[in-house]
Symmetry: D2
């Protein structure tokens, strides 16, 4: 066993954190109990690049108990919880290579460490690991993979279309129990949590500009409104823009929103959606945060070009004094604010996403050789099973269809 | 030209209503301007079974101006606006056979009147017309059709799967600009409007049970909450039930919700979701309304069986005295409450749905012979064009992607 | 007994309406049961100027059963429900002088009819009756009065300050169970109900301008937001304006809001808050409605001056073509839109207000001679009793304080 | 100058925090500019017991610049921000005696240190300082005082009624710009912020029980709902309970709510509102937090009695294993969760409260000898001025009344 963590002595504290997460991930714990008994991953080597949080800890522990050998690196240089990493190394025999504050070189070096072990299953969050394996031509041993994010799925679809994808990948992101819950409820809450921990500003009465009205954006917009903010949405897709209007939001192009916002949050999956031209138009005191996967949405380089000085005024809050004399505040260096300045998604949503992950990994192993190198949706039965287990764990009883009702749904003849 | 309407002297009033609707349907009016010039439906006979409202009037007027010969009957015995029917007959040469309060026999007889004319395009709302044409073997002249509702699409898909569908149908219901807007915002508002016109009860503080958490159900739930009600959701699908929980609703099976509700609203597309057993558990004064397409969701026959008397206490509100001594109130005889007790969807949402209808009809005519007898989605470019025209008509400017951003969305290599 | 109603043959229908209202006014019905037994108003003549709705019917029936002789006129020319007026005259021996669509002369003439009878108790809604009695010097027989609205209370306070008030008045409007419920939840719902019945427009996505952020204005703003509208608030008081901002609303002066709104609703109690200058700035299609007590908030005269034509396009919706070519739509002639175009407050809120009314009238009679000619708040014990009865009728159990907790609330010494 | 702080070397970091707060307190900064020039507090000794946060720092700096000599202690053993305390001592010559984690003895000892200096103005948060001065008979030099909280005002009113209050106190808590903003928007946001920092649980889908529906309780309830939680309210006052019902909340007595909640938050100002009997009924995993001023609302002693073990599982989160085998989690030892586990109110709301504080202190000094020993409301003109300055600082323009409108508000004669 190998590992590289910040401080192995944090392991005890990490164990508490894992215990706390496990209490809030009853679905995955229920799946763990089954997998632990049957060991369907015996002998399987898993390479995983995920945010190394307590919830990921609960997932990799589950894979381990299901029989797998797990190699884990971080999917973001700022998101590792060092105590959890230590606990996984010390108590769970997870080969973990991750610490908070990796340099870009360290980030890639850690990723390379885990692909040396001829992984059979590749779990990724953002698509960097999949890209790296393809770039380095190290896909031979791979049976299949999973991908956690919208961003990663977009990249993998591009690979599939260009005919370069070498193994099947289950887009966990596309599970109903993932994208409707994790992106919306998880990021919706945690992105704002990150902003509050970094700044402690009052949301009520603030003008908040949400850039991108996908599932993440609408989660954030909804929570901001629920906190008393006045929300402006910037969106390039007409269907989504219209939906935002109908939800009662003001919809504006960025060049107009730039002048109005007190707080800006990006969630587009795209590049430079806040440019230096936009920044120069902003009000004194404007706060900039990113909730999209990569740190490309706010043009940080551009920001530096139009600034005459910068300093950290509070943890995760950097003050830039612009050449026009105004000050703007960049949170978490433009990286995922919920993971950098807070703790990422609450355990309860990761319970859903990671139950899909665990069952998808087992599905790929069990269907080895039957799946072509494409991007697949999570099988509907996995998705529904996760939802049912979750409802059960919450003590919630849903309606059951009667026999008559089941039949009615199948016939097409009578009406009025 | 032929017609059967309640009172042709209402035509003047109907003309005002049509004018009011046209002011609130700028997208369809813009499309009308184009079609009127090019006349792509010249010589085409259209049979349409739709709710004969002012908005439908704007649609059939548009088809007429595009060159079509239009035959129109009602898709619901209680939903016709008689003044509009009169105006269409008198001023627009639409062959309309519809009046509010048709018997079931009249309802089918009107439908039969319009299929005698060898229609080439069949527009339906609920699937009854499609079913009738297939039952009577009158599909030979038909180039294709459209279908407006979820209910109708479910029936047509069943026909497709069973291999009996004879012509291509575009499921207008499945357009993003239809199901996300019409079902959610349109029915959400108008179903509650119908309940208030029928009962004038206060929603704040009421316990409202929404049965079915599809797009219609979530629209209604959201509006009820926005009006101060406490909302309970009943749903048989685990994924949807879980989503309702995460939105903060209480989720219960009907047998428990039955005892708690002050107002019950069904929107499942299924049969007997409120049964007589449920009704006997209800509180004195409970109000029952249906927002689903057909009047099968509340078991009205069963209700009669467990009642000892009934009377109309207000228009569209019937009091049933149950055998257990309690009273419950059935609105609009269990038919679509928004169309029976109010005016159906506001023009603004029908503007979207009917723009899709108009462009889909033109699309079918233009692609005559190229489409197999299947259920098709509305072409994406039609859907997006409708959204763009709508935004434009509202004076709303969306964001535009830069060249760099377009390219970024296509590449998969770099990250961090 | 005397009466003047539109059509006495509507009495049967009015009786049903009263029955429906009584089912939704359990608090007042409970109070009625007590008063009917004790008859504390035996021999008392009551003159009441109230909106003659089914709920007012339930109140005056209650006073009658408590022993009073009741004379009733309308507090608004457009708000009388003629069937209810007929039923009160025919079945309940209420001397009612009211019909929908009174001229201004008829309105005052009816009021004069009821003051001829030397009333001992004067119940008013808006303050016109109190003003008339004082103007005509007919206050000698009066023991005391009640006042239902903010507008009326403002007028009575002015009278008190100027030393001209001749009898004590209980400001029912100031009861917690009145102004927090009736103004906010009642008008909030019913004003929007009136707008929808008049126009059937979609609220989602509309820009709605609420002028005045008192209890009525905030009720309307909250319901509009709950219906998907984007709400702008116009308010002259800094404290209220700031509160609106903190609730997430956009706050603007009218001259700016005028250019942006799709729908304007006034609720200020003040005059000409929408002036002709504002109207000339509005978008084509703008809708104007008033939810304040008097029809002075929108400058209707000014509107006529800047219009070149007008016509009724739908019931309660009048189209004005302005001299600048744009069209605006005035609802209910600028009178209370919830009473003119809908049915006024739901019974459930009037249950609270009118329970306060009934108990306040009894209180005045019982404290005859002890009260000075001032404006009094509703005694706290009446207010609380109404709340408790209401909770009870809804089956809701509140927390009870323990002995220890009661004592804790009284001591001031220890802390931490 | 004297001080007692945890670590004076934190002063630099505290200075940054103060600067950050000043940027978000534009109203108080504007008032500071005026006071600094006029020095109305020259020679005045101020004793202040407040939460020693960055915002309080901005307030005492303002008093200092206005000429006062300031002695500052903490109003809560867990709420001091040590870096701010250090900065105030080092850079601002504030005599500060406060650190996070004071024992109860230290808490009182610090308070005693500041009253030795014969204060003329006494500023308090909770009433402990006022009580102590009265208990020790040290009120001779005192001109007057201010009180920040509901809790403190209740105590002072009791003192006034019992005739023991020795000097006038302005109840800053009762300013419109305090209780409507600080209690509702400030605590509403920050209490939830504290819970999330302590636990990182998902709020969406959780059942949250809010105990007490005063301004703090309703702020919390509203924010929880805005975050997707299902909220149950427990309230002993019928008027407030009814209001909660009308806002759509479920209202239950604690003995029933105890069995249902996932998270409990107290905000009553009363004692033992969550008792050990309630705790024994709770679900496994229940979380308990307090947002009321004192740590008496949750019966922590009782909790210990019914527990067999406890441990800190995360910072500010203590796990209690109950004698029935279930686990519950107490946050911040039952003390104010927003101050202990987060940073207290955002600067923006304290900007309002502390502007009232600063102007009230000046008012007392300027009206020395004219005020009787009673509890006074903040003068209306101060309250309004604070609101106007705040709107101005946010760039918001309110409506202005016309001359005609001002006159209309004063007359009572005409209506319709």
């Amino acid at each position: 066993m190998e590992y590289l963590v910040k401080d192995i002595s944090l392991a005890e504290q990490g164990k508490n954190q894992l215990e706390w997460a496990e209490m809030h991930m009853p679905t995955l714990m229920r799946i763990r109990a089954e997998l632990e008994e049957k060991k369907p991953l015996r002998g399987i080597t898993v390479a995983a690049v995920l945010h190394v949080t307590k919830e990921t800890g609960v997932l990799v522990r589950t894979l381990k108990r299901a029989g797998a050998d797990v190699f884990l690196a971080a999917s973001n240089p700022l998101s590792t919880q060092d105590d959890v990493a230590a606990a996984l190394a010390k108590y769970d025999e997870i080969n973990v290579f991750a610490w908070r504050g990796e340099t870009e070189a360290e980030y890639y070096s850690n990723m390379e460490k885990i692909i040396k072990h001829s992984p059979q299953i590749v779990m990724d969050d953002g698509g960097d690991l999949h890209a790296l394996l393809h770039d380095k031509n190290l896909t031979d041993t791979v049976i299949g993979g999973t991908e956690e994010t919208t961003t990663g799925v977009v990249r993998l679809k591009a690979m599939e279309e260009q005919g370069v994808l070498k193994y099947p990948v289950i887009a966990v992101n596309n599970a109903y129990t993932k994208y409707l819950f994790d992106n919306r409820f998880g990021t919706g809450q945690s992105a704002i949590d990150g902003i509050l921990r970094a700044t402690n500003v009052l949301l009520a009465g603030k003008i908040c500009v949400v850039v991108g009205y996908g599932w993440v954006g609408r989660g954030i917009a909804s929570r901001l409104r629920g906190a008393g903010a006045r929300v402006i949405v910037v969106e390039a897709n007409a269907l989504r823009a219209l939906e935002a209007v109908m939800e009662g939001y003001e919809v504006l192009p960025m060049r107009k929103a730039a002048e109005m916002g007190d707080i800006f949050i990006t969630a587009t999956g795209n590049i430079n959606v806040i440019s230096k031209e936009h920044i120069l138009k902003m009000k004194n005191g404007a706060i900039l945060a990113n909730a999209g996967h990569f740190n490309v949405e706010i043009d940080v380089e551009g920001l530096k070009q139009v600034s005459r000085s910068r300093r950290v005024i509070r943890p995760y809050t950097e003050e830039y004094e612009l050449i026009n004399g105004k000050k703007v505040y960049l949170l978490a260096e433009g990286r995922l604010v919920n993971l950098a300045a807070a703790e990422g998604h609450p355990s309860e949503v990761m319970d859903l996403s990671f139950s899909n992950q665990a069952l998808s990994v087992v599905y790929i192993v069990q269907n080895r050789g039957q799946m072509t190198p494409k991007v697949f949706d999570v099988p509907r039965e996995i998705d529904e099973r996760v939802a049912e287990l979750k409802l059960e764990s919450m003590g919630i009883e849903k309606e059951e269809l009667t026999q008559q009702q089941r039949e009615y749904m199948r016939q097409w003849r009578y009406g009025t």
